[in-house]
Structures are given as structure tokens and as C-alpha cells.
Symmetry: C2
Subunit: 227 residues, 2 copies
């Protein structure tokens, strides 16, 4: 056995951050697994298969989880494949291509704001056939955060007001839009909306938000593990 | 081959609704699979395993999804194991024991309102180490809907205002509370909050909502497939 230097027992070494082709390769593998897990999630919440099959599946899923051995990141650790703040977040529950929970929403610049495209399945159901109201808030909160970043100020939500005008259909391509409308000291005012791709002029859900850029001391206190 | 009666090609037969022990057995199998899938989701978003392992996992997940053969429910169909409105919803993305996405939050009556208990993992991360702001809105929206139901009026959100006072920590037992504060015709006014179990008097997030009970014609138009 090799002797273990004392400091390795008390400090966590920084994970090696991949670059270039290696980073692309890692992200592609994470996204491919995310894609298949989302298909498994969809099949699971739709199936009417008998309990015997579900129990067999349960055993297989447990076995599969056991194969993900090796290092697991800690609670507040930024994954080595991510950029933070404001960049790629592979496991974001809204935009992450590696997240089994995310639609994932694809975010692109759009005029003076940002636009998000996604389609939500039955796993995100609230009332039968429609998107969970909280999921609509989640799409908006995320995209309005991107609007802040696009305007030059990564920020956190302090206030979000969501008006549900019509139910948002499942399995229908959606278009979410957000843009900054003003700033007051550290506060950033943002508006957002969700519509269908087919009828982008009709806002099914509309939102107003106030975001705040934490001052450096506050940011360090909240995120001690970030660079 | 047996001849297929014409009507079975054009109408979907109602799924047989299980009862008693059979229902318990089905729900237990769904919850067991949900539990293992949540563990797989957590392991997936934490792992730093190499791309080769991820690609092998991807193939296995695809194979597993293929085993969920048989009937799949349609977009707005209520699962045979559910009660709607206001009862058990096995695949709810917030409370469903069968949902790979749900914490799942456990809801119980509490004085003049309802309380929800859950712990959120890294899969629900927004800022590093903290719950996604949209996920907090999702917990509140769901629980405030339960508060309406507990007060005798199943209803849908039309307005939700969320104030984020402090970040909500991941991997920490949370307590969400909601209660109806008043009604105006079909409108139901509801308040909600999220705190930690350790410090329930400090609201990390506070919300006000307006919910509306759809009139019978509107309900039929929105939910044509419900009983």
C-alpha cells in the first residue's frame, strides 16, 4: 500500500477539467445517456404493464445504478464538464442535455432577449393533458435567468409573478421568451412568456420577475466551491 | 387469428380500474420502480464515470425501455391506478411515488391547511448547492392546489407570486405549508411557504396564489377524458 499524504485526507482535489475533443466526447456521452433516460422516464409514466414486469424492471434499474461506480460529486460541486456561471450546465433540470428531468429546453439569443424551445411530455403533467403549472414557472424562471446573463449580469431570482391565462398543452412544441426590461441598482427586471410554436403571439403564461446580482461577499458566502 | 370487431379499431376501451388488494399491489410495484429510478437519476447527475461506461449504460437503458411493452396511456388519460380530481396521482412530477422526477413530496393535512415534506437532491439544482427557483415554485403550486382541494374546491392556478428570501438548500429536509385565506366567487386565495424542517418558522420562499374552480362547461372542454 502506498502511504497517503495527510492533506489528501482533508482536502478534496479539484476534478480535472477536460478540454477540446475530450470535453466534447464526455459531453456527448452524458447527453446520450440523458436522452435514453428521458425515454425511459416517458415509458415509465405511460406504461400499463403488469406488476411482475415492473418488479423485474426495478431489479434491473437497481443493478444499473450499481454500475455507476467511482467518484460522485458533492452537493455544491460544479461538474468538470460545466461552465459556471452562465454557460453549459449539463445536468440542469431545465436545460441540461444530461438531465433525465429536463425537457431539455434549448436556449438561443432572440433580438433583445432569449428564446427557449422545448416540448413537455406526460412526465411533466399537472391537470390531465396539460403542463404542471409549476413546470411552466420553472421554464420561465430558468429562461429569465438566461436573459439576465445575456444582458451581462448573472443573477438569482428574488421575485417571480406568473399569470396562467390558458393551460399549456403537453406533447406540443413550446416557445418561451424572456427579456430584461430595466435595472434598479442590483435589481434586474425581466419579463417572460410561454406560447406554442404554432401560435407564438398568444401568451399562455406570462411572467414578471426581479433578479438580483449577489454582491461579491454574498456570492462567496453562497458559493464557496465556485472558482 | 381472431376477427377484430370494427369498433375496437376506432374507440379506445376504458382501462380496467383495479380495486382492493390488486390496486395496492399495482401501486406498490409502481412506487418501487419509481424509487429505483430516482436513485438512478441521482447517481446519473452525480457521477464522474468515464464516457465508455456512460455509453454502455446508455445501451442498457435503451434495452430496458424496450421491455416496457404493452399498452401506453394517451396524453390526457387518467392512469387506472389514480384518483382524479384531488386523490392519488401515482405519476405526479411533485407528489407521485411512481415519478422518476418527483422528490416525491408527501402531503398531509395540517391545522387549517396542508403541509408537504420532501428533500431535494442534486437533480433539482439551480445555483450550485441550492434548489432551482422554479422547483420551489413547483412545490408551492402543487401544495397550494392541495390546499384548495382540502378546502373542498379542486382548482387550477391562475396567478402565482413567489418571493425568494433565502436560497433553499439541497439534501436538506424541507417543510412546505399552504392554506386558503379567502374566496371571491370562483376564485380561491391561497398562501404558501417553504422552510427547512430544522427551522420551520423561517420562510425561505413565500407565495401568494389565486386558484379558480373551472365551471362545469369549461371543465368538460378542458378534460374531455375524465369521468
Amino acid at each position: 500500500m502506498n502511504p497517503v499524504p495527510t492533506e489528501s485526507l482533508t482536502t478534496t482535489p479539484d476534478p480535472v477539467r477536460p478540454t477540446g475533443e475530450e470535453l466534447d466526447h464526455q459531453r456527448a456521452a452524458i447527453a446520450a445517456l440523458g436522452h435514453e433516460l428521458r425515454a425511459l422516464v416517458d415509458a415509465t409514466v405511460r406504461t400499463a404493464t403488469p406488476p411482475e414486469v415492473l418488479h423485474r424492471m426495478t431489479d434491473e434499474v437497481r443493478r444499473l445504478t450499481g454500475q455507476l461506480t467511482g467518484r460522485r460529486r458533492a452537493r455544491a460541486e460544479i461538474p468538470a464538464v460545466d461552465e459556471f456561471p452562465g454557460g453549459v450546465r449539463m445536468y440542469s433540470p431545465v436545460t441540461g442535455p444530461g438531465s433525465p428531468l429536463a425537457p431539455p429546453m434549448q436556449v438561443t439569443p432572440d433580438g433583445d432577449g432569449v428564446v427557449g424551445h422545448c416540448t413537455l411530455g406526460i412526465a411533466h403533467e399537472g391537470p390531465p393533458g396539460y403542463v404542471h403549472g409549476g413546470m411552466s414557472a420553472m421554464l420561465l424562471d430558468e429562461l429569465m435567468g438566461w436573459a439576465c446573463y445575456a444582458a451581462g449580469s448573472p443573477a438569482m431570482t428574488v421575485f417571480l409573478q406568473t399569470r396562467y391565462r390558458r393551460p399549456v398543452p403537453l406533447e406540443t412544441p413550446l416557445r418561451t421568451h424572456a427579456r430584461v426590461t430595466g435595472t434598479q441598482d442590483r435589481k434586474i427586471l425581466v419579463v417572460g412568456s410561454i406560447s406554442t410554436e404554432d401560435d407564438p403571439s398568444v401568451a399562455l403564461v406570462a411572467a414578471d420577475g426581479v433578479f438580483v446580482t449577489p454582491d461579491p461577499d454574498r456570492a462567496r458566502a453562497l458559493f464557496p466551491d465556485t472558482p
